[in-house]
Symmetry: C2
Subunit: 337 residues, 2 copies
């Protein structure tokens, strides 16, 4: 399998390394290597049909700020369409106001008969229908486990392991930063601003934290899950959203007296698509602490099935991309390709 | 697909009903029905190559105590070997001292070229290697998601969704009865005996509770997971085991002062195969309450991945069997069978 990596930040570098680490698995399970035949970032590109060395790509990026050896002139769309490869790994940064450039890259790949594996929430939260239609029309795969909850395998769990279930609803904690802040407020009795500062100092929250604490990130992920698992046709803008800025230490203490904790919960059911702070009983799976992500699915036969995993991180996100690459290889193998 | 159900207690009845409920899914996804062409319990059997009505089987069992219309003379092994069907659903009761009759039935089916889907822990916890060798030799599938943790899809998660990970270790709560008792002791300050009586009155614990509270059930499941996920070659007898009888309300209160809870944890790593009570910090996924089952896998790229589900129940266990039936159908479809 020949892959091109679009975007070479933390996630792009992580998946390049992981592809290097897993050649033995690819050979043993599928009798073929996975070769990185191209990579680009916003400024530069590099390609080689013989395959590029992941370590070299990462070290050039770190040394020069550019993954490639050539500058980009007219964007990468033409290369994506015309170059010979099988799967685009799309890891450009998420921007929730604008799905570009990821959307154009993914559409170009799908329409050129190439699979797309992406970690980029923007295109999926804003243009899910267009992307999945293009994948279906061109009989290629669009996979995006990495876009929701990092290493928490919620999409593949729902669509593969629970394919025999009717899934009625979903609730989850989709942002580790908010969960960390709420948990610190409870454990140490800290006011919101102080817990936020602590999270910023630890690198858990961004300097501009609104994307996390106003529920924007959670709402993107919820829209993706609504489309992927429930077959809805929604965007980020359809999610009713309340963040955690106005949660006081008093509210958390009061909840504690009732043996409850406050969590920023995303919920999908037939009447509701909402991210908002909720009370959760202690001991309930959703009362989880730390920066973990968690999703609970309510199904007709199995009842509640819950999955928990690390929501972010270089290797964690790369691991979700790897699982999608393996799913494509496995599907090709089954079809005798 | 033609199936025969061996054992017609709670689980056997549940899967018969679920097969009836999901005919539309089988037709839509695989273009074929799943027909129950035979069923038997310890006393009786019934067969029909045209297919049996699940509702009729369940109502006859409830009315007469027998699923079948004919008495069993010489055991069912010959029928399993000679009758024309594809998959044996083995739901006879678990007996940890003796893997029979499930072991003989499963081996007969595998050696006759039939798939086996089982919920029965005994044969898997005592004779895993023999069963998996017979499946491999005859190029048929042996699947057993239902044998561990009911509706918690830990085996298929590990083997399918996490196939790209190196899994280093596993920890989990594999018995809902123990978790319920430990949780009631903590929440209400009850002594062990009283919490156990309460569980018995609610039908959560058996009249003879030793199978649960001495960790026998957890140890069976741990041995199955060690074989299935870590490729070990162990039996139930290799698991070091301590139950919860000697946990006092004082120990639980003391743990609470340190913001910890006591849980009966099963652990697998390269040096350890053990079921024993452990302290777990509040807010940790393993601090879960109620009768839920939970497993946490430690992997190289994804870090900890955790799955939680209902550990028992008629429909919950049937749902795990259904997921295995769908996996076989899907595999056959991919291979063009």
């Amino acid at each position: 399998m020949k892959v091109v990596i679009a975007g070479f930040g933390t996630v792009g570098q992580g998946i390049a390394e992981v592809i290097g680490m897993r050649q033995e698995l690819f050979a043993k399970s599928f009798g073929q290597p996975v070769r990185i035949v191209g990579a680009f970032d916003s400024k530069s590109f590099v390609k080689s049909s013989k395959g590029l060395d992941p370590a070299e790509l990462v070290s050039r990026k770190n040394a020069t700020g550019k993954v490639g050896t050539k500058d980009i002139d007219n964007g990468m769309r033409e290369l994506i369409e015309e170059y010979d490869f099988d799967t685009l790994i799309e890891t450009t940064p998420t921007n929730i106001l604008d799905p570009e450039p990821g959307y154009t890259y993914s559409m170009a790949a799908l329409n050129a008969g190439k699979n797309v594996v992406t970690s980029n929430k923007g295109p999926l939260a804003l243009r899910f229908r267009e992307l999945s239609k293009a994948a279906a029309k061109n009989k290629v795969q669009l996979r995006y486990e990495a876009s929701v909850g990092g290493a928490m395998p919620v999409i593949n769990l729902s669509r593969e392991l629970l394919r025999g279930e009717k899934i009625f609803s979903l609730r989850g904690i989709l942002n580790g930063t908010c969960n960390f802040i709420l948990n610190r407020m409870k454990d140490e009795g800290l006011p919101f601003e102080q817990a936020l500062r602590e999270a910023q100092e630890m690198g858990i929250a961004e300097r501009d934290p609104s994307y996390d604490i106003d529920g924007v990130d959670s709402a993107c992920k919820l829209a993706i899950l609504a489309n992927a698992i429930f077959g809805m046709d929604v965007t980020y803008n359809d999610v009713v959203r309340t963040g955690i800025r106005s949660i006081t230490e008093d509210a958390i203490a009061l909840a504690g007296e009732q043996k409850k904790v406050i969590r920023l919960i995303g919920e999908i059911n037939k009447d509701r698509l909402e991210v908002s702070p909720r009370m959760v009983p202690s001991g309930h799976p959703l009362a989880i602490g730390g920066t973990l992500n968690i999703v609970q699915l309510l199904t007709d036969l199995a009842g509640e099935v819950t999955v928990v995993g690390r929501g972010a991180g270089r290797m964690e996100t790369a691991s979700a991309i790897l699982s999608d690459i393996l799913a494509i290889l496995s599907d090709n193998q089954a079809k005798g390709r």
